[in-house]
Symmetry: C2
Subunit: 204 residues, 2 copies
C-alpha cells in the first residue's frame, strides 16, 4: 500500500532521490538533502528518524511508483495471455532498467548491491504484495484460475529479484526474444493456472 506522504515529505524524498542518483547512498548526507530540499535537517530527522529510514522510504516510493505503472498495462493488451505476458515483461524490465537500479549500480555498485540484497527484504515484500494483489484481482474478475496467490507471487518476485542482480545464467534475460519465450511458456501458464496439484492435471 502506498503510504500517505504530505508535500514536505515528498520534497525531502525528491531531494534524497536526486542526491542518491548523483553520488550514491553512502555519500549522500542529510546536510546535502536539507540544502537541496530547502527543509532543515531537524525536520528531516524528525520525519524520517535518520538517514537509513529516509533511504528506505526513497526506495519504497520508487518501488511503489514502478508498480503503479504496471496497472496501466493490464488494461491495454488484448487477450488474457497477452496481458499477463506484457505485465510480467514490464515488471522484469523495470526491475532491471529502473533509473535507481541502473544509476546506483553505476555510481556505487557494491553499495547498491548491499541495498538490493542485505537490505532488500522490504523491496521483495513490496513486490510480492503487489503481484499477489494483481493475481487476486484477476481471480476476482475470473480471468485466471483460483489458487493461493501468495506462493505464485513469491516465485515471480524472487525470479525478478534474481534476474535484476544476475540476468544471465540459464536463459539469457538480457535478450528480448529469450525473455519473451520464457515468460510465455513458463510464467503465463503459472499465473493463469497456478501449480498443478495432482497427477490428473498433467496432460503432457
Amino acid at each position: 500500500m502506498p503510504k500517505c506522504r504530505d508535500e514536505v515529505d515528498q520534497r525531502i524524498l525528491d531531494a534524497a532521490l536526486a542526491r542518491i542518483l548523483q553520488v550514491g547512498i553512502r555519500r549522500s548526507s542529510l546536510d546535502d538533502i536539507a540544502r537541496r530540499s530547502g527543509i532543515n535537517r531537524v525536520t528531516i530527522y524528525r520525519r524520517f528518524s535518520g538517514k537509513d529510514k529516509l533511504i528506505e522510504a526513497v526506495l519504497e516510493r520508487e518501488t511503489e511508483r514502478m508498480l503503479t505503472e504496471v496497472g496501466s498495462i493490464l488494461t491495454d493488451a488484448e487477450d488474457i495471455d497477452e496481458r499477463i505476458e506484457q505485465t510480467v515483461l514490464y515488471v522484469l524490465r523495470q526491475t532491471r532498467m529502473h533509473r535507481l537500479v541502473r544509476q546506483l549500480l553505476d555510481v556505487a555498485p557494491e553499495e547498491a548491491l548491499t541495498f538490493y540484497t542485505v537490505h532488500g527484504g522490504e523491496m521483495v515484500a513490496l513486490g510480492i504484495g503487489y503481484i499477489a494483489d494483481l493475481l487476486d484481482r484477476a481471480q476476482h474478475a475470473r480471468l485466471i484460475a483460483r489458487y493461493d496467490s501468495e506462493p505464485i507471487a513469491e516465485m515471480i518476485a524472487r525470479l525478478a529479484h534474481s534476474l535484476m542482480l544476475t540476468p544471465k545464467g540459464g536463459v539469457d534475460f538480457t535478450v528480448d526474444e529469450a525473455t519473451h519465450h520464457f515468460v510465455r511458456t513458463t510464467i503465463v501458464p503459472m499465473v493463469k493456472y497456478g501449480i498443478a496439484t495432482s497427477s490428473k492435471e498433467i496432460t503432457r
Copy 2:
C-alpha cells in the same frame, strides 16, 4: 559437470579457498596463494590465467561439491514427495549456509555480494544445470511427470539465488517451519507435475 583437475590444480584451489575464507577475495593475492600451496606464481598463472579465473574456479568447485552432496539425499528419503522436499530443503539450506557464502559475507560483505550477483552467472548456470539434470533423471525413472526440465530448474535455482541474498520478504526463509511449508505446498508439486498448461488441468 565437474571439471577434471589434477592434484596440482587441487592444491592451488585448496590454498586459494583457504585464503579467501581468511581475508576475502580482494585481499587474496596470487603470491599468498603461491606461498600457501607451495606452487610458484608462474605455474598458478599458467594453469588459471590470472586471479579472476582462479577465483571463479574456486567458486565453481565449491558449487559442484555442494551439488554432489545433494545426490546422496535423494536415495535416503522414503516416498517421492519426501525425497523432493528433502532435496529442495538441502539446496536452499546449503546456498545460504555454505561456509564460502557465510564466511565471505562475514569477512568482506560488499565484495562477496559482487561475486554472488554481477559475477554470479556461472554459479546460477551451474545450479540450473544441476537441478535440470536431477529432474531429467527423476523423469527417466518415472518418479515425476514428463515436462521440460529447464524452465522449472531455472525457477528453483533463481528462487535459491534470491533467498541466499535476501531470505526475508514474503515467507520468512530463516524459519524452518515456514520454509518447509512453502517447499511442500509449492515446490514439491511443481517438481512432481510441472506447470499446468491448460484450463482442463485446473481442479481447484
